[in-house]
């Protein structure tokens, strides 16, 4: 079995799901590099890069923000997630079940499944923009919330329907195809950047003889740092840094990748995530943003963020294939995982039917361009929603015994809903909502204080809860 499949199986919890990974199933460092490089060079990168430009980011803020933010993301995998993963070697779900109880994990699954559905919807949106180039129907604009043409609805229905059917029938086949496509896709993204740069050099008549000249072009023409497009939030260095750090928050701080790194021989293998960060979340975002910046340079009124036409202009048919494949290969496991999460709610239902229904929900979500066009905010929300449970796992593993409390409390007490963990989750999200809604704090910045709120709440609430319901083992 290939690493990516194994990792994907790991993420879906289909292997060693209720036991620690045995020594003979552990994987080497190289396996994780391939997996992360492939997984983080996805269809959504073609939206995120342009949205940075639409947010009026400057060259320095973008490059420095991405360099530091991605480094922080790698460190989060290395020092928060992987050390627990390689010590316990359990899936996220099993570990959560021990701490939180089966009912609370089910609720977590539901939240996870819903977020996965919307994320898959954005990926379907990306793929459908490539269809628009062929059939030339009206596609959504930057600020469109609802579908704006019959052609768009039909295109998303066809693309999303196909993705859902394939995910239900042949998940593993697409996973294998994704392995084959990954190196090709990375290099097509790189080519987007080179072609876009040349376009800018030609369009501006800039003489580029050194890196300094190139930096000058970047600052003056590509990422000018002006006001954002209408309806977009202005992005500064801090926005870029926190976005890059937290866009995969569910995976590192949120501990979802416990399921991946339980297969790692050493916890430092998590440095392999840098392959994904600096290929997908640095090179690919920058390349995609250059294409959109060039579109704006040609016609400042053309603010539509449509990966299909952008890629077609840069690389022709290969660009369109890249958009379709990037969206498809990443929507496939996302729909599949969402299906698994929902299936946990109704264990007796057929996985095939659940995946199909999940795909249908993702397809309907994909028809609404608001999700893709507001992807920066949605990705931040996705990380925020799942993050508090990461804080709960961190505290439960490293700190809780130091306070004289029990780790894995639900398992010891037989509780199916650990209210200390549940309230830590709900109150953290409520606090974040209040901060965003009433204190004017942008969603990109609430996750960091939110983690500390969740950690603190879990300790305090456990003090009260565990005193009230003492487990047999603690007595």
């Amino acid at each position: 079995m290939n690493t990516e499949q194994q990792s994907q199986q790991a993420q879906t919890g289909s292997e060693f799901e209720r036991e620690p990974v045995p020594k003979n199933a552990l994987l080497g460092f190289k396996s994780f590099i391939g997996m992360y490089a492939g997984e983080h060079c996805a269809g959504t990168e073609l939206m995120i890069g342009p949205l940075f430009v639409a947010a009026g980011v400057s060259a320095f803020d973008l490059v420095a923000g991405l360099l530091i933010g991605n480094a922080l993301a790698v460190l989060s995998w290395m020092f928060l997630c992987a050390p627990i993963a390689t010590r316990r070697r359990l899936t996220l779900y099993y570990q959560l079940e021990k701490i939180c109880g089966r009912k609370l994990v089910t609720l977590y699954n539901l939240a996870n499944g819903v977020m996965f559905c919307f994320l898959a919807g954005a990926m379907v949106t990306v793929s459908a923009t490539a269809v628009g180039v062929w059939f030339n129907f009206k596609m959504p604009g930057l600020n469109d919330v609802y579908p704006n043409s019959i052609g768009w609805v039909v295109a998303v229905a066809v693309v999303g329907g196909l993705i859902a059917i394939v995910a239900a029938y042949g998940y593993q086949t697409v996973a294998k195809f994704a392995n084959v496509a990954a190196p090709w896709m990375v290099l097509v993204f790189l080519a987007f950047g080179f072609v876009g740069l040349r376009h800018f050099i030609d369009a501006t008549g800039t003489e580029v003889g050194s890196l300094g000249d190139l930096w000058g072009l970047a600052k003056a023409e590509i990422w000018e740092g002006g006001p954002p497009q209408e309806g977009q939030v202005k992005f500064t260095f801090w926005h870029v840094m926190f976005f890059a750090w937290f866009c995969n928050m569910a995976m590192h701080v949120g501990m979802s990748d416990l399921s991946v790194f339980r297969f790692a021989r050493k916890s430092w293998y998590a440095i392999a995530s840098s392959a994904g960060m600096y290929v997908g979340h640095f090179m690919a975002w920058i390349s995609a943003s250059i294409l959109y910046a060039y579109q704006l340079h040609l016609n400042p009124a053309d603010t539509d963020v449509l990966p299909g036409p952008l890629a077609y202009r840069a690389a022709g048919l290969v660009g369109l294939l890249c958009v379709i494949i990037a969206g498809w290969t990443t929507a496939n496991p996302t729909i599949y995982r969402a299906g698994l999460a929902f299936q946990a709610l109704t264990p007796n239902s057929s996985r095939f039917k659940v995946t199909l229904i999940t795909g249908a929900i993702a397809t309907i979500a994909g028809m609404f361009p608001a999700i893709a066009m507001k992807l920066l905010g949605f990705v931040a929300l996705y990380g925020l929603v799942l993050m508090p449970m990461g804080a709960v796992i961190f505290v439960d593993f490293w700190l809780i015994r130091k306070f004289g409390l029990q780790s894995s409390y639900a398992e010891l007490s037989g509780k199916t809903f650990n209210w200390a963990a549940g309230l830590a989750w709900f109150v953290t999200l409520a606090t974040a909502w209040v901060l965003v809604r009433f204190a004017g704090v942008q969603i990109f910045f609430v996750s960091l204080p939110g983690w500390f709120v969740a950690a603190l709440l879990y300790i305090v609430l456990s003090k009260i809860y565990q005193k009230k319901f003492r487990p047999v083992a603690a007595e």
Binding site: K176, V180, P183, A315
Partner: protein, 64 residues
């Protein structure tokens, strides 16, 4: 056979990237870049599938 396929697929990846580098240097037309990338893409998927698919596990097991 496997080694030959690996060499050809590696060459296809080089052929996929090189035209855009030459275009960046201002020494190739964009149309030519697009055609070369398309040919390289076809060669990549044909040859890489030949050895990477097998690596991905011969049995096409249903995810459970």
């Amino acid at each position: 056979m496997r080694t030959i396929l690996q060499i050809i697929s590696l060459l296809a990846l080089i052929a996929l990237t090189l035209p855009s580098v030459i275009f960046l240097a201002g020494k190739m037309e964009l149309n030519m870049v697009k055609w070369l990338m398309l040919v390289a893409t076809i060669v990549w998927f044909v040859t890489a599938t030949g050895w990477m698919w097998k690596d991905s596990g011969a049995e096409d097991q249903e995810a459970s």
